[in-house]
Amino acid sequence: MRVLIIAKEGIPGEAATPPTPEAMAAYQKFNEELVKAGVVLEAGRLQPSSQGKRVRFDGNKRTVIDGPFAETKELVAGYWLWQVRSMDEALEWLKRAPYDGGTFEVREVFAYEGM
């Protein structure tokens, strides 16, 4: 199955402070391990929401809203797309990530429609 790992911001001022070199190295090591295990399909880190936009739909009306957005806990800072055999496997991998804060959401992606 394919799962999307969503890294929630949870920190006011989102990504304003760049990670320390040590944190980056630990992250890279973890990511490398995931890649070597054939788990990572895709990964990406997002620019802060101050550079993001939202489009609100209301009937025929479309309203474009400029960032930054206020609900910092719900803001997405990055994502991974993983190929795993079960939700449990995704969780076991995720628990090994070298983070000391923040929240990560794991969501299964619909696959093989019609089967």
Binding site: V35, G38, E42, S86, M115
Partner: protein, 445 residues
Amino acid sequence: MRSSRTRACEGALAIGQRNGDANAVADANRAIEAIWRIESARLIAGLARVIGDIGIAEELAQDALVAALEQWPAEGVPERPGAWLMGTAKHHAYDLIRRRKTLERKYEEIGRDVELAQEGIDFDAATDDDVGDDLLGLLFTACHPILSKDARVALTLRVLGGLTTEEIARAFLVPVSTIAQRIVRAKRTLTEAHVRFEVPNHDQRNSRTASVLEVIYLIFNEGYSPTGGQDWVRPALCEEALRLGRILAELAPTDPEVHGLVALMEIHASRLSARIGPSGEPILLLDQDRTHWDRLLIRRGLAALENAERLGGALGPYALQAAIGACHARAATAAETDWPRIVALYDGVAQLAPSPVVDLNRAVAVGMAFGPTAGLELVDALVDEPSLKSYHLLPAVRGDLLRKLGRFEEARAEFERAASLTDNVRERDLLQKRAAECTAERLSG
């Protein structure tokens, strides 16, 4: 041993605190299963490097799993489960070696263990690079040419995929006892032949790699085009094969054919969901809704193909077949397919890896590029080929070409014949449907 385990369990997850709760035990067991999938290959590989025998290494790893199943539900999952499993397996290994040492004079062939025991085994010396080499060694050993193809497939899924015997049996639609025997015999064969646990050197590297690639592709194809059973596709097997291929591409990044195979599998897998209709019926390539193709897998496949090309030299058979898949992937509609290029690529495959099946595929491409008459001429030349005698796709292809030429009665007979030759239920239905269409077309024409 007790104290080291207790230490390893510090910071354990909360699972054990609901001790006695059936749900908690079920949670722990699911977590253990997931951890096993993540850790087992590295565990077996690390043990095999030291012990020199993957059969014994696998048994030691299994013992560690049993210990985990006994202890983790009550005590909690340790913070570093991989290290815990390795530590436990190590203790079992020392016990084993000690016991064997006492039998030393009786069994001289296990001198290696004794030698190692005297040298002082260091299970912990492995670096990250070594782990990669260990895994590669495990893959090469499980896919050793001394073993039959079936044995290689079963052993690879077991020791590298972390699948249980039951799961492998289910995937291949054979009795559990068959797979269990296959694995036991494979391990015994490797032991008796004194197959060294190692990454083969330069002289042997290419032929041994070919054996590994063959096993991975066999697993993929059994998922992509099951030879029997009720399902038209079995994606779980494709995913196992892709995972093994992706791991191999990380471990052996300089081998172009490894990337070629990964490219081929990624591109084919991109069509898995488009290949099957709402009620499980097959949809053939040219009839597929291309918007359902998985763009991510196509992109990954094209990138892998580029890796193969960048590594230089002429493309190998897998990379060439991936390049054929890429032709389809790049065509927004079936009509836009570059068939002459596909014919040229099949020429390349036929030169490197000649086979009647490749000739048949090439004939299909020729039929698309230069018309059904040209295609049929090539297919007719294959009709007496002994190895295609019971290959259902020969009459299926021939039926297709005859139908395009308006020779409906002959086409119908070919589709009927093809249907009688396949063991896959879905495919048989499709071929019978085509035969019926030919009858209808003949009557209306």
